[in-house]
Structures are given as C-alpha cells and as structure tokens.
C-alpha cells in the first residue's frame, strides 16, 4: 500500500491511504472494531468513521481512505492507525 499527501486541508499532514484490493474489507473491519462501525452518507456515496483524533473517510468502495487528523493527534495516535491500516513509512 501507499499514501499520497492531500493539499490544503484541515491538517497539514493529510493523506489518502491506498489499500491493496484484498485488504479493503479486513482493514475496515479492524477500524470498525477499534472505533465503531462506519456511517454512510448516501447522497455523497461516502462512508466514515469518526475517531476521537481523526476522521477516516472514503467513498463507499472503501478505498482510498482519507485520514483527516485533528490538531490534538499525536505520533502515538498515528502509529496506532498505521498499524491498523498495515502502513509502514
């Protein structure tokens, strides 16, 4: 998997994480187990999990996942998320 920086957003460190195709379902299952089931927005065809330190949002296809960090988000928070996503820097 890889990630791409997204410009001009809520946080200077905003990325889209592109999951491998067969990792999409298990990854969202891990995220839901940690922070709750995703909410769907039918008119925009998006889904999201609102965690305390970031919002995880994607189209209904589940990939890529845009991670919008809150300002309070720490390196530990990011490390935990990366472990769940299976992302290594």
């Amino acid at each position: 998997m890889r990630r791409e920086k997204v410009p001009a957003c809520v946080h200077p460190e905003t990325y889209k994480y592109f999951l491998d195709r067969d990792a999409v379902i298990p990854t969202w299952q891990r995220l839901a187990a940690r922070w709750g089931e995703p909410r769907h927005n039918t008119s925009f065809r998006t889904m999201e999990i609102a965690a305390p330190r970031f919002t995880l949002r994607s189209t209904v296809l589940g990939n890529p996942i845009t991670v919008l960090r809150r300002r309070e988000c720490t390196a530990d928070d990011v490390a935990e998320l990366h472990a769940l996503l299976g992302y290594r820097e």
Partner: protein, 398 residues
C-alpha cells in the same frame, strides 16, 4: 449539554431553494471555510492605521447579540440562556466555548474554527487570534443579561496555549450597536435564462447533496467536510466587517487597496477551498464520476458554491481562457443595499476573487502561489448599484 427537541427546532436550518439561502435563528448564514475566515481576519486586522480588530469584535458582538436574541425565548431561565449561547456557537461550527464561569469573568474555549484556520494557513501567531470569539462572547453576555462588557483574550491556542482563555471586564462602556438595516431587496422571482450547463454535471444532485449534509458542529464544534473546516457565518457579519474595513480605509484614501485585498483573499480562498474539495472523498464519491473535462469541474464547483449560499450565480460564457458569471442574489450586494442603500460602484469582492481563483484552479498549473494572479476578474454590473444582477468577467492575464 443535551440538545432537546426545543433547542434543535430553534437552531434548525431553513433552506430557500430560489436563492440558495440558508437561515438559522433568523439570520441568513453563508458557509465558508477556515482558510477564508482566517485570511479575511488577517487582512482586516493587519491593515495599518485602522482599528481592524475593533471592526471584527464589534461586528461579531452586534450580529450575535441579535441572532442569540432571536434564539432565546421569554421563559428561558438564565442557565438555559447561557446554554443556548454555548450551543449556537458550537452549532454554527465556530468551536466549543465554556460559559459556565462567565459570572466570575472567565470564559474558555478548547476548540476553535479560527485557530484551526490560522494554524493551517498562516502558521503560529505572535498574537492571540480569537477576536471573533471576543465579539461573540460580548454579544452573548448582552443577549443573556443585557450588560455591555468587554471581553479580552489572554491566552490562545494559536500561540501554543492548551485552551483559549478570555477575561470579561464589566467596566463602563457604550451600549451594543443594534443590527439595524433596511429590509432585504426582493429575491428574483423569474427563473434565470441563458445559463450554460454541462450535459454531464447534475448540478441539482450536487446542490441537493450539499444542502442535505448536516452542516452543524460536531462535539468539538467543528464541521470537517470536503477536507476543510466549514462554518455557518451570518451574512451580516461578513457584510459588516467588509463594509467597515473599506470605509475605514477610505478615511486614509486607501479604499481601492482595501477592495483589492478583499478580492485577493477570495482568490486564494477560491483556489484553496476548492482544491481541498476536489481532493475530498465527497468529491470522489458524487462528483468525480460526472466530471469528464475541466469545464465539467468548473460547473461542479459553481454548483457547490451555490449550495454554500455564496450568490445564486451561474455561468453565462466560458472558454479555457475566459469566464462570465451572473449572480442574482449575492450576499455582498444584497447586504450592501440593506446596510448602506444604493452603491456608486460594484461591491462583490468575494465573488470577484473567487471567480478568478476558480479559473486559476481549473485551468492553471503549479502551486497555488504560481497560479495566483494568472486570471483577473472584474465585476461589471452589481445589484448594489441597482442593476438586476451582478455580472463578472474573468480573463487570463497575458
């Protein structure tokens, strides 16, 4: 505080499809992002020789004293009135304020739209940045207790503090300026004609989707949508600060510079906000499948801006090097007529700048700074001058 159905009804948004206006507690609100709001504040407060901070604090005080008065009910006890004041701030997307110690002269905020905007776009600040919140709290104290007070921020998250902290000074000061204005000019009744549309872009689906989004603050009082922070700002606030800024600068013979600065802020906003939007999952989910070329992207962006309440504006001519737009009910022009009557010259700095910024985003290349200034826009006719619509012409700079 739990939001009961009575409070929810008081703050429910009413949408007017004919003009795309959104109304909350008796005020038309316009949705802009944290980049624009912080930048506008920096421009007005950064101008030398005028009291820019006073303009922002005064406008917030006047407008929110009025909006809160409309959200309060005669049988609300004082605790409930303070609760409404906290809730309106959060609901509109400005962050989270704690008014529980206001009687002791202390107000704190642990989340702030303006601080987010400042840190995201402008970097750490040497000064406290929450002038808007100072004005809001002054307006809230007035709406709840009838007392005119001064509120001063003494610690700010934009300077690294854990929370913003405000002190309330109850010394003598003049009463709060009422939000006096003429009734709005009538909205156009006839459907518009002669507008260009893209066969691929379902503008109404975009508008319905944006209007259907719950544009209210989350637990922290923020609205993260389209990968930016949005807020519902009363149109009267924007009009008061922009008219006040231009008039104060006129006193120094610098009103043309003031308008140029306001256009420039909007030009940056047009690029930054919509660049964020075009990279967002919402865009990928609904809009990207409709977009086949750059012209489609432009039509989609205009549809989104209409849903945000910017101006009921539409494309009348378009090439990759030029754009013409007609706006029928922009908040700047309508607001100028309400506050000042007929204008001698066009007043819609925000739409003028955004018109250029959108062309720079859609057809330009490189970074925002490299694109800036590559298109120029001017407003040729304006509702504020008595015309039937505002008309904007954008051209590539040779």
């Amino acid at each position: 505080m739990a939001i009961d159905s009575d409070l929810a009804a008081r703050l429910a948004m009413q949408y007017e499809p004919a003009t795309y206006r959104r109304r909350i507690a008796g005020h038309d609100v316009i949705i802009h992002c944290h980049h624009y709001n912080a930048r506008l504040q920096r421009t007005i407060e950064g101008a030398r020789g005028i009291d820019g901070k006073g303009i922002i604090v005064g406008a917030a005080e006047t407008v929110f004293a009025d909006q809160l008065a409309r959200a309060l009910r005669p049988d609300d006890d004082e605790a409930r009135r303070w609760a409404v004041a906290e809730l309106l701030y959060r609901h509109l997307g400005f962050g989270r304020i704690d008014l529980s110690q206001v009687g002791a002269g202390i107000v704190t905020a642990d989340s702030s739209h303006f601080v987010e905007g400042w840190l995201a776009g402008l970097g750490e600040s040497a000064d406290n940045v929450c002038s808007f919140t100072e004005g809001y709290v002054q307006g809230a104290v007035y709406a709840v207790t009838g007392a005119a007070v001064r509120v001063r921020e003494v610690e700010c998250m934009a300077r690294g503090a854990e929370r913003c902290r405000f002190e309330v000074d109850r010394g003598e000061r003049p009463p709060v300026t009422p939000n006096r204005k003429e009734p709005p000019i009538p909205a156009p009744r006839e459907p518009g004609a002669g507008w260009l549309r893209s066969p691929h872009v379902d503008e109404q689906a975009i508008i319905d989707a944006v209007v259907g989004m719950p544009m209210v603050g989350d637990d922290a009082g923020l609205i993260p949508a389209f990968s930016v922070y949005l807020a519902n700002m009363p149109a009267d606030f924007y009009n008061r600060i922009c008219i006040g800024f231009v008039e104060a600068m006129r006193g120094l013979g610098r009103d043309k510079t003031a308008i140029r600065l306001l256009v420039s802020d909007a030009e940056h906003c047009g690029m930054n906000t919509f660049r964020g939007i075009m990279h967002s999952p919402e865009w990928d989910g609904l809009i990207a499948p409709m977009v086949r070329d750059r012209a489609d992207a432009l039509h989609a962006i205009i549809a989104i801006s209409n849903a945000l309440g910017w101006g009921d504006w539409h494309v009348t001519a378009h090439t990759p090097r030029s754009l013409a737009l007609e706006s029928r009910y922009g908040y700047e022009a309508v607001g100028y007529r309400e506050f000042r009557g007929l204008a001698a010259a066009p007043q819609c700095a925000m739409l003028t700048g955004v018109a250029a910024g959108v062309m720079e985003l859609v057809y330009g290349e490189g970074t925002v700074e490299e694109r800036y200034g590559t298109f120029s826009a001017r407003e040729e006719r304006c509702v504020s001058c008595g015309e039937a619509s505002c008309n904007f012409a954008v051209e590539q700079v040779e």
